[in-house]
Each structure stands twice: as structure tokens, then as C-alpha cells.
Amino acid sequence: MDTKQAVLDILNELTGEDLSDQMDENIFENGLLDSMATVQMLLELQDKCDVTAPVSEFHREDWDTPNKIIAKVESLRNE
Amino acid sequence: MSNKRKLWQIFGPVLCAFILLIILFLIPWQNGEKSDNALFKASVSQSQTVFKGQSIKQAAFEKNYVPFYGSSELSRMDALHPSVLAYKYKRNYRPFLLGGPGSQSLTHFFTMQETVDQLSNKKAVFIISPQWFTKQGQNPAAFGMYFSQLQAVDWILGAKDSVATRYAARRLLDMPAGTASETTKYALMTLASGQKLSKYQTLYLKARRRMLANEDNFFSSLGMTNNIPKIQKEAGKLPGTYAYDNLRQFANEQGQQGTTNNKFGISNGFFDKKLNNKHLNKLKNSQKNFDYTKSPEYADFELVLNELAHEHVNVLFIIPPVNAKWAKYTGLSQSMYQECVAKITKQLTSQGFNNIADLSKDGGKKFFMEDTIHLGWNGWLKVDQYVKPFMEERNHPVNYKLNSYYFTKAWGNKTDVKMPDTKSKAATNIKKN
């Protein structure tokens, strides 16, 4: 499956919103994502995209917009 | 923008601030003229900044202010308080109140250091409370409230080696407040061991004194408690002219009105605030074991006497009583109290301090005390019977003969001291009441 679509699906599930039109929106600042949802997202990514991102790897500033998340997932996949 | 310019923009202001600060603190600013109102306010404020500071006291003593050294009784500002009487009847002197809860001999010794020149050959009143003479003596925390580095540096720079100097240095080293500054601490250690300060130490301390004096000059009149309205309000109650019998009657009336809610003759407010029922039961017989006859305070008091003798101060000592009814309730021993008074009197008279107002047996008189241990209405009036003639008589410098025995532990712990015969020497022109 396409990474972008997978990530957006996961985010949609977590936030209840379709984020495809706000790819550079900071989703922590606008309150869509919190620590709890982040953990869920990491677990979902492990399941659906087959990338292992330990909690230590998680720096908010690297993961705070949908575009950044997609980029991060792709870079982890290619490691 | 070049990097140099950037650096200048960062550090330039800091550098300028430092230079300005150094100029501000090291220039010997003249003591600005202090207004009469400012001095009056300071004289009745009992603020710690005034006690710790220098410039206000100096300015006041150069005018007609007379230091009244004491402790918490000074804050009992009823209509017959010395400050109120002097204000109301436009006397030629004004009391400058120095002291508050916890101030004792050692604090007074150090606060005197800031006004050495102004004190010499002057008059002063000293209220010496037997309550100071506890087993512990000066409470270190209370000492810290009244102590300032300026006092210490003033004293250190003027100190000459003597038993008194070594004793004072050792005492100050015992106090946490005294050792808070490293340079002061080392200077004290030097003095305590009978050595002289090095040139470098003196130079540094002089610069420090300049800084501290400027700081005091700029800031210590800020945030003073304003007790002037209180004094004026109380003065308004007094009869228009000074006549002893009228005042006596007035004091009785005031006392009567003020002590209606208890059987001890304690002011209503104090009783409500400090001795509500729960406390009262606990306090019964609580002072059975109080002993003022053995205390390091005797040696501290000797320091004060040393200072007064050096400046040839003409000083009136006042020994207040305790509220007799209250003493009976708490079990405080009157014979122990009298023994302490005898010891204080001996220490005074044997060194030539003969001007003593011993009120210690008046604690049972009506409305003499405002509360448990503090003078009030008739008590203050009695004090005035000593203060008024003392202030009216022409001033003369007094020579005292000091005895360093009074610094020893042997004296501090000595018991069974007999009351010396003072009748012939003591101030005589007291109206009998």
C-alpha cells in the first residue's frame, strides 16, 4: 500500500478527520494528536507499514505534520 | 553587521551597566538632607531597615533625637508612650526608637557601631529587660533580623584589640548572620585572635563600607512602616497641658477601658490575639522554671556598656517589671526576677552607670503593664517621671570605670548577687506616686 495513504488512514482513524488537505498543518499544536494518540500511531505504523519506531526515536518536531510523518516513515523503511 | 558590532551590541550594555554600578556604589555621595518628616517617621517606625541602616540614624542623632534602645515594649504605643508624650508636649527632644521583638544587647552593640561619632557625649535611654537574660541569651535567628553587614564592617574597621573586641568578634562568629560573608568572617577571625587586619583586608572592607553605606543611603528609607498617624491619634487623646495628676487620671481611665475582658489587667486586644482560652490553660505554671540569673547575656550587656563608656554617653537605664498577676499565673518566680535585677544593677553601678530607673517591683500596680511583660499606661507615665527630668538637665559627658570581669563566664553564671545600695546615688528628683 502507498505510504501516504496508509499514514492518512491511520491519522483519520485517530483524529476523526481527513487530513489530506492539511498536509503541513501542525497536528500537535492544533490539538489533533496527543501523546496517547502518538503511541497508537506508532503501533499502527508497526502493524500496517512494517516500520519499527521506538518511543525514543520520537521527537515531536520530526513528526508534527502529516508530510513529516510520511517522510519519517519512508526513511525508516529504507534504513 | 560586522561581528565586532554584534558583540558590542551584546556586551556593551552589560559593560556600561557595570561601570555605572561601580560609580554609583563607590562614589562617596553626601548624605542627602533628610526632611523632618522623614526623620520623625523613621524614629517611630521600628523598621528593621532603620535599625540595620546608618544614614537616617546619623542624621537624626545630629538633631534633637535621642536613642531609646529597647525591645518589644517600644511598640506599645499608647497615649503615654515616650514618643507620644514628646510629640504632644513639644519637648525639646524626640525619642528615636531602636528595637523590637528579639533585639537584645548584642544587636544594640552592633547598631551603635554605625553612630559612634553621633553618640559621643550624648544622652541615651536604655530599657534593659530581664527577659533577655535567658540560658541561651541572644537568639541567633532574631539577631539575624537586626544585623547588617554595614554594622559589622563599621565595627571591624574601628576595632582595637581588647578583651571586649575579642569577645565581640567571637560572639559574632557564633551567629550564622555574622559569618554569612567570607571577608567579614576572616576579618572577625583575625580580630578574635587578637591580630591586626592586613592592609588588603582594610582596603577591601573600606570599599565594601562605601558600597554598603551608599546602599543604605539610597534604599533604607524605602518601605518604612509609617506609625506617624498612630502617634498623632494617641496624642489627640491626651489633655492639652502637661500635669502629672491629670495624666495619672487619664492613664487610669485608658487602662480601665482597655482591659475589660480578663482578670490579669492585660489589654483586650493582646488577650484575644495571643492568649485565647486554649492557650491560657497551657500557660498556667509554664514559667515555673524560668531562670534569668545565669546567662551569656550578661557578657553581651557588658559590650553595650563598653561602647557607651567609650563614647561617654550619658545614659538612663530603665528596668521594667513583669505583670504581677500574670507572673503569679505562669509561676514566674519574683525572687528570681529580683535576683536578676540585682545582678544587672550591680553590673551597672559598680562601673559608674548610676542613673537607673528600677521599676521592677511595680508590676502589681494598676494599669502599669499593657500586657504580660510590656509597659503600658501608668508604666509609661512612670518612665516619663525619669525621662523628663533626665532630658531637662544639662548634658555632661560621663566617665565610667570598666571592669572586664563582667565578660567572664564566672560572672554570667554567678548567683546570689546582692542588690547594691543605690538609693544615695540614683536619680532623686522623682515624683512619688
Binding site: S35, M36, V55, S56 | I10
Partner: protein, 407 residues
């Protein structure tokens, strides 16, 4: 013996600046004098734990040796390809052990117990636990002993934070910043230190030294007179005054630490970000003592939820987050100390943040009905401020003095 406590008086800053000057000149020219830096650090640590505090100094040395043994033994274990949870737990427990001993010691009625512990042990423990956790996650591949020692013993932050992260620290420490960047460091460092003067020595002094003792006295007095829960207006005054004091004193201290780090070419993270304009409790913890709360978020909260979700311990996501908040804040309470008011403080904040979450969910569902305007915003700030101040009243331990006569 000379004993100099960090940032305690103006003289300290003069000494600090003189000591750092060679380092500053070096960094400005793109070079980091590591040996000199180590010398200055050791000197300042020595001055801090010298004289009357020498027992603490000895303990610090012992503590560092112990933590080195634990960390490097665990690193060896991980590098050998094994990754058992039990060994990981053991390593973490060992790392926390000294701190736990220090926290429990006061409960033992023994004079020797008073001597255990040193200034800064709580903050050092965050750093060591963090490194062990990241070793397990393999985000730290190899701990360099010298960098690790410098990280733990970094003197500007050793006593009370802010809590830096090993990888972030290493990145700064391994290089000298570029000149433009370093000039920027100097600019912010200077600003932070002067802001710290204002906060700690002026505003903090007014609240903490001038006003607080009087309010405490009044609150005790009127409390006793009023009976019951011993409430009084003075107590309310104490609450606000203490909160202001706590912020300005601690934020001032943190600014000194961050400012000094900047001079040394290390961008230690900030600790406070205008906490009193927080609009809710969650927002507050993103602004108050940030390095601590982020540490708890990353190493307790997220790990706990990750573990629980992965092993499906709690099905309901909301219940899980609530549980995690309790775990998070309870540990924080215990970390502050084993007295009732720190623990109640933790429980209070856990409860507050859970209520806040419930409200936020409700608000999201009913977005249309609930007004959102300037007034509601300021009301939220006001409400949060008061809840926070009340929590600080608990934290201060003053209620313990007021009610039980001990603290």
C-alpha cells in the same frame, strides 16, 4: 573552606564569567577547549561540594562510579545481541536505587540518614535512566565514556536541571558552533542571565523573602483563630504569593543554567514558557518545568501506554490514558519526595488532567453548541491559573504545617 553554591550571589557570576572567558574566546574562534572545559567544570563542582558539603562530594563520586558500572554493563549486554526485558528492568532499577535510598532515608529515624544524598541526585537520575532506556531502544548505539561523564557532570545544570538529553547534548558537545550561531548563543545567554537576575533576585526576592514569611505567619495565626480547616484570607494570599515565588525563583534559576550553557556552546533546553497563560492543565504541563514533564511524557507516559497497548492490557483507550496519567503523576509525586503533600500534588494533577481530557472530548463532540471567544479564552486561563496555584499550595507543604504542625 570556600564553598560556593551555584548562582547564589552576584560574585558567583563574576567568577563564572572570568573562568569561562578562555572557553568563550575559543568557541568564538571555532574551537572547543575540551580539557580546559573539564578543568573549569571540576573546579566549580569542587567549590560546590567543598567545605561543609564534602560528604556530598564523596557521595557524588561514588554515585557516578556506580552509574558508570550499571550503564556500561548494560551496554555490553545489549551489544552482545541480547535484549531481555528482565535485564532491562534490572538495569533501570539499579539506576534508580541510589535515588530511592535517598528518598526513603528521611523516613528512617537515624542521624546517619540525614547525611545520605547530595544536591542534584534527582536530576542526575533522569539522565542515567534515559540513557539506559535509549540503549535498549538502540537509539543510542554506543555511549562514549567521556561524553557521558561530561553529560552527567555538566555543572551549569547539575543541581536543578534543566534536564538535557544525551543525544542532543553530544551533538552540541562534539563540535564548536559556527560563529554566527555562537554570537547568537552569546546574545541569548546574556539575555537569559539578566532575565534570571530580574526573576530570581528581584521578583522572586519580593515574593519569597519579603512577603511570604509574613503571609505564612498571618495564615497560621488566623487559621488557628478560625478553627475548622484553618482557612483564612491570608492562606489565599500565601497560595498566590508562593506560586509566584516558586515560578520566579525556579525560572530564574533555570535561566541562569540555560544562559551559562549557551556561553559554553551547549544549547540546554528551556524549562519554562509563560506557564501562567496556559489555557488548560495539559497546556500548563507543556509550559511548566518542561524538561521534567517532557521526560515523564517520553519515558513514563508513552512507554507505559505503548507497553499496555501492545500487550492489550487495557482495552479502552480512554481508560488507558487515565491510568497512564495516574502512573505518570504519581511517580512524579514520589520523585519529589515521600510526604503526603507531594503525593497528593501528583494525584491532584492526574485528576485535573483527566477532567480536562473529558472536557476536551465533550467540547469536540459539541463544538457547535459551545461558544469559543475571547471571554472563554480568558476564563480558561483564569481557571487554569487558580487550579495550578491551588496545586502549588499543596506542593508547598504549608498545609501540613498549618494542620499538623510539621512539614
Amino acid at each position: 573552606m570556600i564553598n560556593i553554591q551555584p548562582y547564589s550571589n552576584p560574585r558567583y557570576f563574576v567568577i563564572l564569567f572570568i573562568a569561562l572567558l578562555p572557553l568563550i574566546i575559543g568557541l568564538y574562534h571555532g574551537r572547543r577547549f575540551k580539557a580546559y572545559e573539564a578543568f573549569v567544570s571540576l573546579l566549580f563542582l569542587f567549590l560546590m561540594f567543598n567545605g561543609k558539603d564534602w560528604i556530598q562530594g564523596v557521595q557524588l563520586i561514588g554515585y557516578i562510579i556506580f552509574q558508570f558500572l550499571v550503564t556500561f554493563a548494560y551496554q555490553k549486554y545489549v551489544n552482545s545481541g541480547k535484549n531481555k526485558t528482565s535485564v532491562f528492568c534490572l538495569a533501570v532499577i539499579l539506576a534508580i536505587l541510589p535515588l530511592a535510598a535517598v528518598k526513603i532515608a528521611p523516613l528512617v529515624p537515624n542521624k546517619a540518614a540525614d547525611l545520605i544524598g547530595f544536591f542534584g541526585i534527582s536530576y542526575l537520575t533522569f539522565k542515567t535512566v534515559q540513557v539506559i532506556m535509549e540503549l535498549r531502544d538502540k537509539t543510542i548505539k554506543k555511549v562514549d565514556p567521556i561524553t557521558y561523564a561530561r553529560f552527567l557532570l555538566f555543572f551549569p545544570t547539575i543541581s536543578s536541571g534543566p534536564i538535557d538529553r544525551y543525544r542532543r547534548f553530544k551533538e552540541d558537545y562534539d563540535k564548536a558552533p559556527e560563529r554566527d550561531k555562537y554570537i547568537e548563543n552569546l546574545k541569548f545567554g546574556t539575555r537569559y542571565i539578566f532575565q534570571g537576575f530580574l526573576y530570581k533576585f528581584i521578583i522572586g526576592y519580593v515574593f519569597g523573602t519579603l512577603w511570604l514569611p509574613q503571609l505564612a505567619k498571618d495564615a497560621l495565626f488566623y487559621g488557628q483563630a478560625n478553627g475548622g480547616l484553618r482557612l483564612s484570607w491570608a492562606l489565599l494570599g500565601y497560595m498566590y504569593c508562593y506560586s509566584m515565588y516558586l515560578f520566579f525563583d525556579f525560572a530564574g534559576y533555570s535561566l541562569f543554567a540555560v544562559g551559562t550553557s549557551y556561553f559554553m556552546g551547549i544549547r540546554t533546553p528551556m524549562n519554562f514558557n509563560k506557564p501562567f497563560i496556559s489555557q488548560n492543565i495539559k497546556d500548563f504541563w507543556n509550559r511548566w518545568h518542561m524538561t521534567l514533564s517532557f521526560w515523564f511524557r517520553d519515558f513514563i507516559f508513552m512507554r507505559f501506554t505503548f507497553f499496555a497497548m501492545k500487550h492489550k492490557l487495557v482495552k479502552n483507550r480512554i481508560r488507558l490514558s487515565q491510568l497512564a496519567y495516574f502512573v505518570d503523576f504519581l511517580i512524579m509525586g514520589f520523585w519529589h519526595g515521600l510526604t503526603w503533600y507531594y503525593i497528593v500534588y501528583g494525584i491532584f494533577h492526574a485528576t485535573a488532567i483527566i477532567i480536562n481530557d473529558i472536557w476536551l472530548r465533550f467540547k469536540r463532540k459539541h463544538q457547535k453548541q459551545i461558544p469559543h471567544n475571547q471571554f472563554t479564552k480568558w476564563f480558561a486561563i483564569f481557571l487554569t491559573f487558580n487550579v495550578v496555584c491551588f496545586s502549588f499550595l499543596i506542593f508547598s507543604g504549608f498545609l501540613s504545617t498549618l494542620w499538623f504542625g510539621w512539614k
